[in-house]
Amino acid sequence: MPSRIFVTGLGFISGLGNNVQENLDSLLDLRSFIGPVRHIDTSLKHELAVSEVSLTNDELMRDAGLSAKSAYSRNALLGIIAAKEAFLHARLDKHTGLNTGLISGTTVGGMDECEKYYQDFLTNDSKNRFIETYDCADSTEKIADHLGLKGFITTISTACSSAANAIGFASRMMRAGKLDCAVAGGTESLTRFHLNGFNALKILDKLPCRPFDATRNGINLGEGAAYLVLETEETNQKTGNPVLCELVGYGNACEAFHQTASSPDGAGAYLAMKKALDMSGETPDAIDYINAHGTGTDNNDLSEGRAIEKLFTGKIPYVSSTKPFTGHMTSAAGSAEAIISILGLQQGIIWPNMNFLTPMPELKFQPAGEIIRGVDIKLVMSNSFGFGGNDSTLIFKKHGIH
């Protein structure tokens, strides 16, 4: 009998706030902080709308209690803040002797420093200490060292589904008995590298993004980090940690259609949701809420919407994209939205798909336009789809129900 996987800790930093409570407060107050770029020196500064973590790197260093002697990318700093919050939430500092893994998703890595110093790297020795902060493993190892984790660590990069796959892989390692618990999620700071990359693909909206709206015109990029602590049922008996919810489904599929576009019928999205649902042993009508990938691009929302209609042939659950709140946190989106989904599950709240006005003519359903309170939510689904058709879905279940 494979072990059950419980969520016992959450950590979250985004444009909405610097910890889980601040994020929750902003969500409940329907506040979004999407606006011009403040922290990055880019000529696109006033042309793009983004969601940035309010703190500067110096302030993040101070809050994490770090010394400026070591080289930290913003990516690592965000990761440290969120992973530490989750780690302390689950009191992993008190529970010694557990075989704890760290699985982190990131894609742009420490490119925020590398892009500043690239010419120095090539021509002189002044910025050598930043050379090794640019790869994806750097932030993961900085997090592990900060938390004193010595067990299994690795880094996953499947673009915008990285954090979802980090959570999924962590749960598989635990079910196979290779880990007692894990800190899993993702981190991504904004960089000129991917602001310009997404801009070149012409999929960024200068206005606040409008997922599932007929007038949608692209993405607002966001930054931040989010981590969950997962424990096996056996580990949870030892830690006695309150169970926030159970991870009951994980699906990973590859659309294998196009490097950056989704198929019009959403074949990959359908497969990922179907696999997660099959693993959970639940029927489609048992799902109460879908936190959609919902980027606000023409392509994603149509293909995801069609996939939802194909899978949920009876009643379509409440659907919303929370990217109008957080911006698209790319590699961290999967864990950030998992946490937003879990907060909704705990509080009985369906999060609104902000900025939605005009229904898409191609779809039969509409996303939740307003915040809905007092809903009895048992099962939530969170979708994360990445470039290259790397589509993943997670399903969380309220604890203590059958």
Partner: protein, 351 residues
């Protein structure tokens, strides 16, 4: 535990389909050891190929070689490990950003995204199943192998295509040479172990493996287990980890016939490799191989190809420095590698 039933490898040596096992040995005298690339049109539609960067082409081609070697069409999962992804594309973007923003070409951005390799392989093989990419220095390939073994154990897959791939460029070499770990001038690869110039020689390569639940007539070897060790406190602790790993798989230290050593020519790095194996497996034969392929994050892919092929052929090419040549049948090979004494990995391969 699973079986290696197919291999596709592009490396600085003669490893393309149809070549003899590492024969004849290839000398390299330039700044880094560059892969001997295949005729790409054998594996990729030439129209599509023109838009793809070198790393992506190496990835798709080696993956297809692997599937052909295994005699299979579509795998049940595709997993890639890469330390740095497409360095060439990343550099293009960083170069453009230095000059002027806004007019970036989107193609290098897309290809610089690490998961492009796995997803391009999926597009080429029409595989809609599990697809993932690990990007953790010297744990990248190893994490992919661990995931592949899990897929088999879970029953989610009968055969998994997994591999490791990294490329080197002159710009990147210029940058990493500042860290003091690399030779500052070109040295003939076959002189790596006698050169007075300190540091490792850089290399590159792509190696994909078909990891299958069942043994068949294509089987090279059994992939017994893969383990990683992060930041050991001492070489003693690393040696203990080796012994525990070996014994967890029912083996005594003397059952390991051969260790493929992580040595790369950088003294401090090599000292750790030597001390760990001296303490853990003093009676095993040792093999040095990085003079053939150079050092890179996913170099264990080259080592796994060598180990699996040796076990199948029961033959060790003379270009692999082996002391002493193991007498009798070769049953068990251990591959050890590490990055800065921080990321250690162990791969156990059996006949």
């Amino acid at each position: 535990m699973a079986y290696i039933n197919g291999i596709g490898i592009i490396s600085p040596q003669n490893t393309l389909p149809g070549s003899d096992f590492l024969e004849p040995v290839v000398e390299h005298t330039s700044e880094f050891m560059k892969s001997l690339e295949p005729v790409y049109k054998l594996y990729i539609d030439p129209m599509a190929s023109r838009r793809l960067s070198r790393l992506i082409k190496m990835g798709i081609s080696s993956a297809k070689m692997c599937m052909q070697d295994a005699g299979l069409e579509v795998p049940d999962a595709i997993i890639t490990g890469t330390g740095l992804g497409s360095v060439e594309d990343t550099e293009k973007i960083l170069g453009e950003l230095t000059i002027e923003e806004k007019f970036l070409n989107p193609t290098p951005f897309i290809q610089s995204t690490y998961n492009t390799i796995s997803s391009q392989i999926a597009i080429n093989l029409k595989c809609h199943e599990y697809n993932s990419t690990y990007v953790h220095r010297c744990f990248s390939l190893e994490s992919g192998l661990i995931d592949a073994l899990l897929q088999i154990e879970e029953g989610s897959a009968l055969n998994v295509l997994t591999g490791g791939i990294d490329e080197m460029t002159l710009n990147h070499l210029t940058i990493i040479r500042r860290l003091g770990l690399w030779k500052l001038e070109p040295v003939r690869n076959l002189d790596l172990w006698s050169s007075a110039l300190p540091g490792a020689l850089a290399g590159e390569g792509a190696a994909y493996f078909n990891i299958s639940k069942e043994r068949n007539e294509k089987t090279y070897a059994r992939l017994e287990a893969v383990e990683t060790l992060y930041k050991p406190a001492s070489t003693g602790q690393t040696a203990e980890a080796v012994l525990r790993f070996v014994s967890e798989h029912g083996l005594r230290p003397e059952d390991v016939d051969l260790v493929m050593m992580g040595n790369n020519g950088y003294d401090e790095h090599d000292r750790i490799c030597n001390e760990v194996m001296m303490q853990a497996l003093p009676s095993a034969s040792r093999m040095l191989y990085k003079h053939l392929c150079g050092e890179y994050h996913t170099v264990s892919g080259f080592a796994l190809f060598v180990a699996a092929t040796i076990l199948r052929k029961q033959f060790i090419p003379s270009s692999l420095l082996t002391i002493p040549i193991p007498p009798g049948k070769l049953e068990t090979i251990l591959i050890h590698n590490h990055f800065r004494n921080t990321d250690h990995s162990f791969i156990l391969v059996r006949r």
